[in-house]
Amino acid sequence: MKKDSVIYLTGSGIPDARPLKPYSDEACSFLAALSDLLSRHRNPPDVATLAFFCRRANIARLKSDFSSPDVRLGRGTVFHIAPSNIPINFAFSLVFGLLSGNSNVVRVPSKAWPQVDIVCGAINSLLERPEFSEFAHRIAMVRYERDDDVTRFFSERCDARIVWGGDETVRRIRSIPIPPRAVEVSFADRYSFCVISEESVMKLDNVAVARLANNFYNDTYLVDQNACSSPSLIMWLTGPRRAPGARERFWSAVWLRACEYDLAPIHAVDKYTELCCCLSRVDDVESVVRHGNLIYRLKLASLNGVEGLCGKFGFFFEYESDNIDVIASHVTSKWQTLTYFGVEKPEISRFVADNFLRGIDRIVPVGSALDISVMWDGFDIVRTLSRIVEIK
């Protein structure tokens, strides 16, 4: 490996401080201090989100939720491979690594996101404080161009590896071995959908519809509808009383909100091309509604093959039914997030449990699709990255 191909934004070499307990006082204090520094940044908004996540009260809440009867310790050194196009994800990955008691090598996006400089700058200034000096041996933030030799170097020296970012990446990185004892957490391509009750949309006043649309926007347009937890399929639950106009009301509100969306010309063409591809491929198209190029809606007459229909940049597939259970037979292990509106929690729990689903790891209200936490993709990341010491 060429040493000069790796740029250390923070730390050096392979950090391998002694492991700590999950939610150790040391890590909690460090994150609280990081939160203080970062909360000065109102922009970019995802840095503010990170600061809010790391604030003392939130970490304390996570800690109290984490009750483990066993003695647990971090596994050692975690190698994080962060995605290049969610700028703040690398920082959350580091936070999970610290909370689980580990030392961390984090490959940051090779793209020059301002978020990377802001977070690494804050960490560097914390490391200069005497009370956090030990963290210099816990954190290395590295930047390198795609290079299997570098990935191999860090992989051979880690106790756990976290790979964010889709099937292709996971396959490629899996071909680079980690030590026999090491564990791997990888995040593959996923499929997500949204369930909205028609009647409940009709009951909303205009302010509430706008709020719902804003939440929906945050789940989708905010990340080009390209996050694995952004819904592609919108399932409209119809009730005994028809609610004509509910959908148009919803989409009009989304359209109003999406007028702010900066649709790049290339993405408009991408989206139109994808629409044409879908039309030639899918036999069960009931109708297509286009609101300019901001919103494309393709209404499906059947759910066959729905998992292969992934929209981006505001391209949604719609299906209507009076029974949420009809979707159960289509759910595979690829399905990740279900966002819902106007459906009661017990009904949702019943749907998942009674249908013995293979997929769906997260069920959250519309607006929370992207809320990342220690639970993600069906894992408790802090538990996975710590080991149990069995004592009898």
């Binding site: 889709g166 390209n226 694995c228 591809c277 039309l279």
Partner: protein
């Protein structure tokens, strides 16, 4: 039903806006219906997009296919047995390429239209022609790349077709000089792709310090400026540079694509690209695909009355441009004129994409 023969012998820049619109409305309706009835993918797409083939009127109301669809789909409106030529775009290695299927008729219309359009610029006589490319390019005749097809198509407009470059893309000075000797004092036509001309003809001549006596010659070139943008070569400096090494007095750029071979858009003496009676352009806003007012930049849609064997008569390109006028070019040619700014910029999507950026 619209017949190609109606326009085949009209002067190519002779229709004013009103006449051209009525011709194109009729032709577009017939062509759209023709492909709708014969190409299943086209039918499914057009039906899904919600175009009612019976109630369309204005030319800009007709459906258009995104150009990339010709890369992912094999689109045909004739029986496969009638295909005499399959043309491909010259994508770089690893990229998918467009596949365009030509039957005898569509292919011959392309040749006719190209001859009609270019004769308006260089006269109806066949000129001795120097092709600035390598003859090796045409070795495999079964698959026509865009470059090969362009050269072959234009070659039919010339005589004593001579290649200026050898198999290694080096200047073949012996061949060039013999060619110029044979046509001393007469008019000659130079043809090639913009980048090839710059890289292997202009640069080689400039380096060697030689000046070729092609004074009075006409140069026609196309294929886009993208590769030259890095070297900051614009049309004016391109023409000037060529004049300095070989004296050509007229330089015509053209805009065209393998998906609509034949109905090319030639740049006139005023530097405007011209639609002919075989073609038209509509510039559309990317936010809603509505037509832009004259002068505003948007995505270029190209219309060609030539494709019948494949549904390529109305295509949304990935190029940005603007309309510069209709029937008002000082050169006197009628029809819409426009300018091309270049390919739309790639932009990365947000979201959980792949960590290992694709190269």
């Amino acid at each position: 039903m619209f017949q190609f023969d109606e326009i085949a012998s009209l002067p190519p820049f002779s229709l004013g806006e009103r006449d051209k619109n009525s011709l194109f409305e009729r032709a577009m309706a017939d062509m759209t219906l023709f492909h709708f009835e014969r190409c299943e993918d086209y039918r499914k797409i057009v039906r899904g997009l919600g175009f009612d083939t019976k109630s369309l009127r204005g030319v800009s109301d007709f459906p258009f296919l995104p150009v990339r669809l010709f890369k992912s789909h094999e689109l045909l409106s004739v029986d496969r047995r009638e295909v005499v030529k399959t043309m491909t775009s010259s994508g770089t290695t690893g990229q998918s390429v467009s596949k365009i299927f030509l039957d005898r008729e569509t292919s011959s219309r392309q040749t006719k239209a190209l001859a009609r359009i270019t004769s308006d610029f260089i006269g109806g006589h066949r000129l001795p022609m120097l092709v600035v490319d390598s003859s090796e390019l045409l070795k495999d005749r079964k698959m026509f790349s865009a470059r090969g097809a362009g050269i072959l198509g234009f070659s039919m407009l010339g005589r004593d077709v001579t290649y200026a470059l050898d198999g290694e893309m080096r200047l073949n000075l012996d061949a060039i000089e013999a060619f110029l000797d044979r046509h001393k004092g007469g008019n000659v036509l130079l043809f090639g792709f913009t980048f090839m001309i710059w890289e292997y003809f202009y640069k080689a001549l400039a380096e060697s310090g030689r000046r070729l006596p092609i004074d009075g010659g006409v140069l026609i070139h196309g294929g886009g400026w993208k590769k030259l943008q890095a070297s900051a070569v614009d049309p004016a400096s391109f023409a000037e540079a060529l004049r300095s090494v070989c004296g050509v007095s007229r330089v015509h750029n053209y805009y065209g694509m393998v998906e609509q071979t034949g109905s090319i858009f030639m740049e006139c003496e005023e530097g405007r690209l011209h639609c002919s009676i075989f073609s038209d352009v509509i510039v559309r806003r990317h936010m809603d695909f509505l037509p832009c007012p004259t002068g505003d930049e948007g995505l270029i849609q190209t219309i060609s009355l030539l494709p019948w064997s494949y549904p390529g008569h109305s295509i949304l390109t990935e190029d940005i441009g603007r309309v510069t006028g209709v029937d008002d070019c000082p050169c006197g040619r009628l029809g819409r004129t426009f300018a091309v700014k270049g390919r739309i910029a790639r932009a990365e999507a947000r979201g959980c994409g792949d960590t290992y950026e694709k190269r």
